[in-house]
């Protein structure tokens, strides 16, 4: 049975600190949704509220069409995978995976030492449980590890045991709290792959918390970004990348980070960067301080004869093989630097001299404008509506 998840205006405060502020979102059945944001943005708290481990101050959580606010974590029929795996330290991998089943199917006396041997049906139930544990272990290729204790397993193996423990109950909803952040870089890339496959195979609904925007971008069908307890944007990874709703989303998503430039609109709404025309207009916002953002791959060296929008000095030239990153310091504002991303075969006439300022340019429809509150401002560039250019 597939269930979606609906959050209705969830709010939570710890003491006087507001952690979540009216967060609403709907996860469709079978979807893989990531909750991202910088640490302290409230994403883990939100996940614990969905799980029922924490109570919200206000708002409702529904799984499927059922409001689950009054239900215990167990009754919500969810499974959770934790950052530090949270395996029961003195139980073997097998016992760890079997525990959710034995708790559900055996009565309390049947789980007690000594007393348990009195039950005639216990042996049969334990055999069933063993079969299911082995089936799940087979799916995750950990059959050989079942007898080991968590202390004898590597990080990747522990993560698989934790996944198996989550899967064995066939829950309607998987909650994952930064499950890959304790793995080394190589293993993380590999597990990312495996989790995506697992999601496709199980067809279950996944809610995945991460502070790693790459994980969010590569794995999820939709991404919800939280910023200071508020839902900043909820959409597909490409929507967040191409049309960030706030300055926080723009700077958080993408690596290397988006270039943020201080800009100003004049009385007629023409936007300028350090006095140079940017080619963008905001008629509704005359005479305002704005942030103008351009992704590194949208910034390029100005062509001969073209009027550049920025003047900058080259500080560093990083070659990654497939691409190059050119780090520039803006002329007249050495505190601010920008990155230009070039494909490997793109020729850059840098002139070799780092003392001379080089002109940089971008297409106005690739720029994002944000007002002083960090909210997106629609701009017009070269007479073309930004909206049509972006979509």
């Amino acid at each position: 049975m597939l269930f979606g998840l609906t959050l209705g205006a969830i709010s939570k405060a710890f003491g006087t600190t507001r952690v979540l502020d009216r967060v609403s979102l709907t996860v469709e059945p079978g979807e893989f949704v990531s909750l991202v944001g910088p640490s302290g943005c409230g994403k883990s708290t939100l996940l614990r509220i969905i799980a029922g481990l924490e109570r919200q101050d206000d708002g409702t959580v529904s799984i499927g069409s059922r409001v689950v606010d009054a239900l215990s974590p167990r009754q919500r029929n969810i499974a959770m995978v934790f950052q530090n795996y949270a395996l029961y330290p003195h139980m073997s991998a097998f016992e760890n995976i079997a525990l959710p089943l034995s708790v559900g199917r055996l009565s309390l006396p049947e789980r007690l030492p000594l007393l348990k041997y009195l039950s005639p049906r216990r042996a049969r139930i334990m055999r069933e449980i063993a079969n299911e544990v082995e089936a799940v272990a087979g799916q995750l290729k950990i059959e050989a590890l079942l007898a080991r204790k968590p202390g004898q397993l590597s990080g990747g193996q522990r993560q698989r045991v934790a996944l198996a423990r989550a899967m064995v109950r066939q829950p309607s909803l998987f909650l994952m709290d930064e499950p890959l952040s304790n793995l080394d870089a190589q293993l993380r890339v590999h597990m990312r792959d495996e989790l995506t496959d697992l999601h496709a195979r199980l067809g279950a609904t996944f809610v995945y918390v991460t502070h790693d925007q790459i994980e969010a971008m590569t794995m999820s069908s939709r991404v919800a970004m939280l910023d200071q307890g508020r839902l900043a944007q909820f959409g597909t990874p490409i929507e967040l990348y191409d049309r960030p709703a706030t300055l926080a989303v723009a700077t958080f998503i993408g690596s290397p980070a988006i270039n943020v430039l201080a800009a100003h609109s004049d009385a007629r709404g023409a936007v300028a960067i350090a006095g140079r025309a940017s080619g963008l207009h905001v008629h509704a916002l005359p005479d305002q301080a704005l942030s103008l953002c351009v992704r590194p791959e949208h910034l390029r060296l100005a062509r001969p004869g073209e009027t550049p929008q920025l003047l900058a000095r080259l500080r560093r030239n990083e070659h990654y093989g497939a691409e190059r990153l050119l780090h520039f310091d803006l002329a007249g504002d050495s505190a601010r630097s920008v990155i230009v991303r070039l494909a490997h075969d793109e020729n850059a006439a840098l002139g070799g001299a780092s003392e001379t300022a080089i002109g940089l340019a971008f297409e106005p429809q690739h720029a994002h404008l944000f007002n002083a509150e960090g909210l997106r401002v629609e701009a017009l560039g070269h007479g073309t509506s930004y909206r049509t250019a972006a979509q």
């Binding site: 799980a51 481990l53 969810i78 959770m80 029961y88 708790v103």
Partner: protein, 281 residues
């Protein structure tokens, strides 16, 4: 072996420190050595033999069989075992859930309750001794195992120690267990307690040693020989039966001390762990 040797420039300090420790150890062990020596000497030699460590005639068999025959030593030890076991079991059953609640559950007045536990640590047994005695007398419970155990059922020290240990247990694992549907009591006994085994073992050793050796409280509530735990039994035995036969007395003391020494030798590592863990001796 090489690892144990310090760099040569620190050698004098090393020797000095160990000499001091060795002297301290000798000083502490001396009464026990003297007890053992007295237990194997002939009666006439005990007072006249001076400081000569080697007995001239060995009287060990007579002294030990005398001690076993004259005093119900095995009975004293059985009493001690019953009292120690009873106290320890109830202490653990009470202190472990209390400590878990203080460490991991969120409820109102938790801070206040914990402050009361700390305050309880500061109250010595002598303070409530009189009211406890009066209450036990009122209910005709004097001269019983129960009377010897009652004041110690609730150990604030155990609550404090276990709370500190449980606090270090990862919340994530408790959360995982709640999601898996494990009840709070089962989380405690099946998941948290096994991880706290070193602390529980350390406390058990403290508790057993303290109550095996306790003389003060049994002396107040026990009049009859058949309930006497080892130290009180020895006291009765000295005053009534043995008179001046110190050899027999020391043989009895040796027999009574032996179980604790054996427990200590077996659980030495846990004992040291316990002291370093609690910072309390």
């Amino acid at each position: 072996m090489n690892r144990l040797l310090p760099p040569s420039h620190r050698l004098p300090g090393f020797i000095l420190a160990h000499a001091a420790l060795l002297a301290g150890a000798c000083f502490m062990l001396l009464p026990f050595v003297w007890m053992l020596l007295t237990a194997i000497r002939a009666p006439d030699e005990i007072l006249t033999g001076g400081l000569n460590p080697i007995p001239r005639s060995f009287h060990a068999v007579e002294n030990f069989s005398g001690a076993l025959a004259q005093a119900p030593l095995l009975n004293f030890m059985l009493n001690g075992a019953i009292v120690c076991a009873g106290i320890l079991v109830v202490q653990l059953i009470v202190a472990i859930p209390a400590a878990y609640a203080l460490a991991k559950l969120r409820f109102r007045a938790r801070g206040l309750l914990f402050a009361l536990v700390i305050a309880g640590l500061c109250v010595p047994i002598q303070v409530p001794a009189l009211p406890l005695y009066l209450a036990l007398a009122e209910f005709n419970l004097l001269d019983s195992y129960f009377a010897m155990m009652l004041p110690f059922f609730l150990s604030v020290f155990a609550i404090f120690l276990f709370r500190q240990t449980f606090k270090t247990f990862p919340d994530e694992i408790i959360h995982a267990a709640r999601v898996d549907g494990v009840g709070e009591f089962e989380i405690l006994w099946r998941i948290v307690v096994p991880s706290a085994f070193p602390a529980i073992a350390a406390f058990s050793i403290f508790s057993i040693v303290a109550h095996w050796n306790d003389l003060y409280w049994p002396m107040i509530v026990i009049q009859r020989l058949e309930y006497a735990p080892p130290p009180l039994g020895m006291l009765f035995f000295t005053s009534s039966e043995s008179g001046a036969s110190y050899g027999v007395l020391m043989a009895g003391a040796t027999i009574i001390t032996a179980p604790l020494v054996i427990v200590f030798l077996i659980a030495r590592r846990r004992f040291v762990q316990g002291i370093t863990m609690t910072g309390i001796k």
